[in-house]
Amino acid sequence: MSLFGVAAGMALRGRRPILEIMFGDFMALGFDQIVNGISKFREMYDDQVTVPLVVRAPMGARRGYGPTHSQSLEKLLLGIPNICVVACSECHDIGALLTAAVEDERPVFFIENKLLYGRPNRRPEDGHIGELAVRESGDPYAALTFSATDFTEGSATIVTYGGMLPIVLDAVTELVLEHEIFCEVVALSQLVPMELAAVLESVARTGALVTAEEGTLTGGLGAEIAARVQEAAWSDLRAPVQRIAARDGIIPSARPLEDAMLPSVEGVVDAVMAIEGAQR
């Protein structure tokens, strides 16, 4: 898709273009530009240029759009050096994230889950969102950490982002109400370069980690997070990292088939229960 190249050319010449792709699935059409141009120009031209562009890309399923209009392809950006991938959630200051992205000298891929467009933005008030205490990192692309016990007790950390956050928060509520298991949740916004300080802080308190993403399992963000956390905090972990993601397949259009492919509240609950050595 030439528009990625057009945006790159504009950015090379001092503009700060925002390229909006109607469906993030179409990012596949721009991958030559992303891999061989946008992400490379600055370093291969020996820092003589910058490419400060933003690509807004709606991702995600649960609207019945079918296999080519429902994917969460941000994981394909994970292995590309010199770019930034930011995902907003309904609890982030989305306007601040987008402003930071536009002001960033790096190319920023701004991932918006489609379900966000129809949901209210729930920001922390007095350090809480609903019943949960929330801490927000001071980075331009903040991480939010949630706790049901004001950070005094936690059985596991669930790290997630974007459209998976409400599902994970529902799972956390169910774990409290049905099983009296208390978890912390970290909602990242900066996915690439991966910044896991908030995750490591939480894992130091909880001793266990579940990753939850809407993209397919294999080669997902969860795999990279698991690798990094076991490397940095092996002695903190009392159980293997659990990964929750979509099954490795297409996302069908029909709702029951779609639901069967995607990560669910029950899946997150089961993963935490597995760490606890318990069955639901």
Binding site: S2, V6, G9, R13, Y45, D46, Q48
Partner: protein, 261 residues
């Protein structure tokens, strides 16, 4: 008007520069690969003479040395770059195909550069700099779909892009008749873009045609599609034939002997 002697000097320098690169390559002093521009020098010199390096921009391709030298005259920076030396124009990070200096850029993926040059033209138009964004394509580039998306956008948005198609009749090693259907010039015309087609390596004819194209872009802000038929194969074949004849004749000539001397 630039003097013919100046054109000749520029073309001759590019030719000798690249012949020197080939020699250095044989000696193992170059890293990676090098795509030479031998036989196409008139094109770079004739077109780029109309561009102002401090205002206009060029996006070139993998075969970029001639364009780079004609635009920047930075032979040392280029040679160091392809030799992997620290003073290289990109510190040795880019190598032969990935150059950047001032308003000159090149990249090694065919087709990829065309939308980027189109975006550069859009930025310059918005900034009202009057810059012309020139992009050098080859016949092989015409097999890449983004080329046509870019022609569409440049025409639709009336962007100051000079598309120069250097038809050297080969996409790497594939002859044009196996990779290219239809007319090249008609591709530009199909998008409503002013088009001109040359079949020459005469630098003065190329210079005249490019002058018309660049003037038209500057006056109207519209893109232009200039096709130059380089016939690299014919030039190389003529050179090869002459060299082969020479080698054959020399081989058949009597050996020098002490008696003859």
């Amino acid at each position: 008007m630039t003097a013919p002697s100046t054109f000749y000097e520029r073309m001759f320098f590019i030719r000798r520069f690249e012949e020197t690169l080939l020699d250095l390559f044989s000696l193992g002093k170059l890293v990676g690969t090098t795509h030479t521009y031998i036989g196409q020098e008139a094109n770079a010199v004739g077109v780029i003479d109309h561009l102002a390096p401090d205002v206009d921009t060029i996006f070139s391709n993998h075969r970029c040395h001639g364009h780079y030298l004609a635009f920047t005259d930075d032979a040392f920076g280029l040679l160091c770059e392809v030799m992997g030396k620290a003073p290289g124009v990109c510190g040795g990070k880019g190598g032969s195909q990935h150059l950047c200096k001032g308003n000159f850029y090149s990249n090694g993926v065919l087709g990829s550069i065309v939308p980027v040059a189109t975006g550069i033209a859009l930025a310059e138009k918005q900034k009202r700099t009057g810059a012309v964004s020139t992009v050098f394509l080859g016949d092989g580039t015409l097999g890449e779909g983004v080329t046509y998306e870019s022609l569409n956008i440049a025409s639709l948005w009336q962007l100051p892009v000079l598309f120069v198609v250097e038809n050297n009749h080969y996409a790497q090693s594939t002859p044009a008749e196996l990779e290219l259907a239809g007319s090249i010039a008609a591709r530009g015309a199909a998008f409503g873009i002013g088009t001109d087609e040359l079949d020459t390596t005469d630098v003065e004819l190329i210079h005249d045609a490019a002058g018309h194209a660049v003037r038209r872009i500057r006056e109207t802000g519209s893109p232009f599609f200039l096709v130059s038929d380089e016939d690299r194969a014919a030039i190389e074949a003529r050179c090869e034939a002459r060299l082969a004849e020479t080698v054959e004749a020399a081989d058949a000539a009597p050996a020098a002997t002490a008696e003859a001397a």
